[in-house]
Amino acid sequence: MPLGGIIFLALFILAFGVFLIFLARKIGGRKPGPAVKFEAYECGITGVAKKDTKISVKFYLTAILFILFDIEIIFMYPWAVTYRDFIASGQGAFVLSAMFIFLAVFIFGLFWEIKSRALEWD
């Protein structure tokens, strides 16, 4: 496993990117302007304070459901990679049915989420 290479490349890109940003800062500079120039973009009107930005709770609900389903998918990976070995040793039917029971739970969960309208965006 070329861990050293991965770390080397990550650090190289980090250095490269930081260097480029500094270069662009040096060349581009930062010119003064009226105070409104340094406001965050707000369609041309004067910005108001950022308090109470209402963000739908759906975003985090999606993220939670993503975690749970992601783990179920991760469980399928070692299964998929050993599946042919199990078939060769005659345990294919057992492992297949074990996974199908697991998937039945998964599918039940997915349909429950759909039916309970947890995934509706309006």
């Binding site: 581009g28 990976y77 990679v81 997915l110 759909i114 509706e120």
Partner: protein
């Protein structure tokens, strides 16, 4: 990384070269995208600077470099500046794990008073035997870039764009991960090179002890996993935030999504990240479903090409170099075609609405990729059991 100093140095240089290759491919793709979109929409596109507008790339780079360095008053400067740098890392690290050609062999030689080699250099950044898991892990880190940029800008548009983009990315990661299960079941490995080797030769289906062989078609994964391939490709569009799934930067609603406040080189880095994800997706698709670097004719498999080039050039080493060049070109043709499809789709399909996007991800693609994995499992079982 290597046995001795020379090998380590060459492998390190190779990584830097792959990174620079990705970086310099981006202006070319941008040019291709602008000219291609102009062609599709029956207009001219950039055609003033240089022949066919090719020098536009250079002009753009100069423009990006000389732009004023701007950050809004409300920005969190650390995150604002770090986000574009981090945008480069996951895509590049993931791309380095994709095999691009057959290895080059170097014979032993004497230099600097000691003997070196023999070496085998792979045309691949890192040879990772759990390649798929590594690539998925690396590309799942891309969500941080988006969140850092969105929150660091201190702008409402950026924050909303970032939340949308990350919710979309993670939703489609499920369909992506599940469609890959079919591929893993098919080849029984995580290693991309073994997958490509499994796709050599002529197409043959095994079912209940019968084998049907087609001499004309290559043994590509696409013929075993058509549904999986379509789902995988669609999910990668959403992963790389490309139209028709570029809700994060729907201009009419969110100005430019999470990079609203970015300009100049910082925005260029986000671009490199986005195109990097497209390249990872295209490279993975080629490796999973289109035989990777192998030529599309069954009898011209990598071993045969290596044999032919060795006969032609007389030595094993120069033969391996020629074979590597041939396979590299073959990989790049597939790679380029897939990237062109990314561009083509962008200028053909309209954008989805956000609820449609989420519905498609959770209620259509997730169940279908689940069905694909189950069908593949049953198919592999039936094909193997009757064989025994």
């Amino acid at each position: 990384m290597g046995k001795d100093t020379l090998e380590i140095a060459i492998n390190g240089l190779k990584l830097v070269l792959i990174f620079l290759m990705m970086v310099q491919a981006v202006p070319i793709l941008v040019w291709l995208e602008r000219r291609g979109s102009a062609f599709i929409q029956n207009r001219f596109g950039p055609n003033r600077v240089g022949p066919l507008g090719l020098l536009q790339l250079l002009a753009d780079a100069v423009k990006f470099l000389t732009k004023e360095d701007f950050y809004p008053r409300t920005a969190v400067k650390t995150l604002f500046y770090l986000a574009p740098v981090f945008a480069l890392i996951p895509a590049t690290l993931a791309f380095c794990a994709i095999p691009m050609s057959t290895p080059i062999q170097v014979a032993a030689f004497d230099a600097f008073g000691s003997s070196w080699g023999p070496y085998v250099f792979k045309i691949q950044g890192f040879d990772i035997s759990v390649g798929i898991v590594y690539i998925l892990g690396m590309s799942s880190l891309a969500a941080y870039t988006i969140l850092m940029a969105g929150w660091g800008s201190g702008s409402k548009y950026s924050l909303l764009g970032a939340l949308r983009a990350s919710a979309q990315t993670i939703s489609y990661e499920l369909a992506l991960g599940l469609s890959i299960v079919g591929v893993i079941l098919l080849y029984g490995t995580f290693d991309l090179t073994s997958m490509i080797q499994a796709q050599e030769g002529a197409l043959h289906f095994q079912m209940m002890g019968q084998t049907v062989t087609s001499q004309f078609l290559p043994n590509w994964g696409f013929f075993y996993q058509p549904l999986g391939a379509v789902l995988f490709f669609a999910a990668t569009f959403a992963e790389s935030n490309r139209l028709p799934f570029d809700l994060a930067e729907g201009e009419a609603e969110l100005v430019a999504g999470f990079h609203t406040e970015y300009g100049g080189f910082k925005m260029l880095m986000f671009f490199i990240g986005e195109y990097g994800h497209m390249m990872v997706a295209s490279g993975l698709f080629a490796a999973f479903y289109l035989g990777g670097y192998a030529l599309p004719i069954p009898s011209w498999n990598p071993a045969a090409v290596l044999h032919w080039s060795t006969e032609l050039l007389g030595s094993k080493e120069s033969g391996s170099v020629l074979a590597a060049i041939i396979h590299f070109l073959s990989f790049n043709i597939k790679f380029g075609l897939l990237l062109w499809i990314f561009i083509w789709v962008r200028w053909t399909l309209p954008r989805f609405r956000y609820d449609q996007l989420m519905d498609l991800g959770w209620k259509t693609m997730l169940p279908w990729s689940l069905a694909n994995a189950m069908i593949t499992a049953v198919g592999v079982y039936l094909a193997s059991v009757a064989m025994v």
